[in-house]
Subunit: 163 residues, 2 copies
């Protein structure tokens, strides 16, 4: 039992390490890009760097309520960066503001991540009903981290093209 | 004990599902792109679509020996798609050939993935020594799948720009 518990904790930790690593790649990339580079499109006619960064920050913020960690810190990010496409004409925060917001969101996520037990990780996320969750136990909080890590990698690959 | 074993198996399965999903996105994207589109650069001066596809196929092939599942099926992919950058002048297989190779590799990986127990998933991969593994138990086979899933998402995000 102790061995299996240790194995379960290890796998949970591997998943969280992959999330942290992806955030690390994003932050390192953001540190290396100027505001001018971020204002450019990643490829002709495609999204701009700042839109994609804002999109990733907004998606991370939305993880808080989805995982039962409280309200979004910056609900105003949803409209320009999730429900609207790039070049919507909606006002966007500056890169510096987005970086600050990103830091606050990641700190709040990390504080919850560090204290959650394996059982909590495998409990349902807030978009699935208890009835559906009983039939589909993979719809848990840890799976949110897995899917958001892949989503971030997808856009970091695109933002890398700005270099 | 039974509950924890079930939880461990669930988390392993979630990781494999994320890998399968990413491969599904790649295959769907490849089905939607013509050879002409794949011959183009994802952004001006960057990698071509066919190079990135070949790179992903070669990286998947290299998972076989790394995970102890036998030799690579197509060792000839390493030179043009891993050790050499795009536009190296080295001959490349056609898109159709790469798709066939990709299918064969994924079938072989899937057959091993389906039969592996949680203990096998958490055993060391072939690039870490038993001594180092004793100190760093996260360097296991499952972690290869986690990192390769992120790697694939990164490049699929780029290849999506060809549409």
């Amino acid at each position: 039992m102790e061995t299996i518990t240790a194995e379960l904790n290890l796998v949970v930790k591997m998943t969280l390490t992959a999330w942290d690593a992806q955030n690390g790649y994003l932050n390192k990339l953001m540190d290396s890009l100027t505001d001018e580079q971020l204002a450019k499109e990643i490829a002709p006619g495609k999204n701009t760097g700042i839109y994609l960064f804002g999109h990733l920050v907004a998606v991370s913020d939305a993880m808080l309520p989805l995982m039962g960690f409280g309200e979004k810190l910056f609900p105003g990010l949803e409209k320009p960066f999730i429900t609207s496409p790039d070049k919507s004409g909606l006002p966007m925060p500056s890169v510096a503001e987005l970086k600050e917001k990103s830091k606050a969101i990641n700190e709040k996520l990390a504080s919850h991540f560090q204290s959650a037990s394996a059982d909590e990780w495998l409990s349902r996320h807030m978009s699935v009903s208890p009835e559906d969750f009983a039939k589909e136990p993979h719809r848990n909080k840890l799976n949110i981290v897995i899917s958001r890590t892949g989503h971030m990698a997808y856009h970091v690959g695109q933002m890398q093209l700005l270099k």
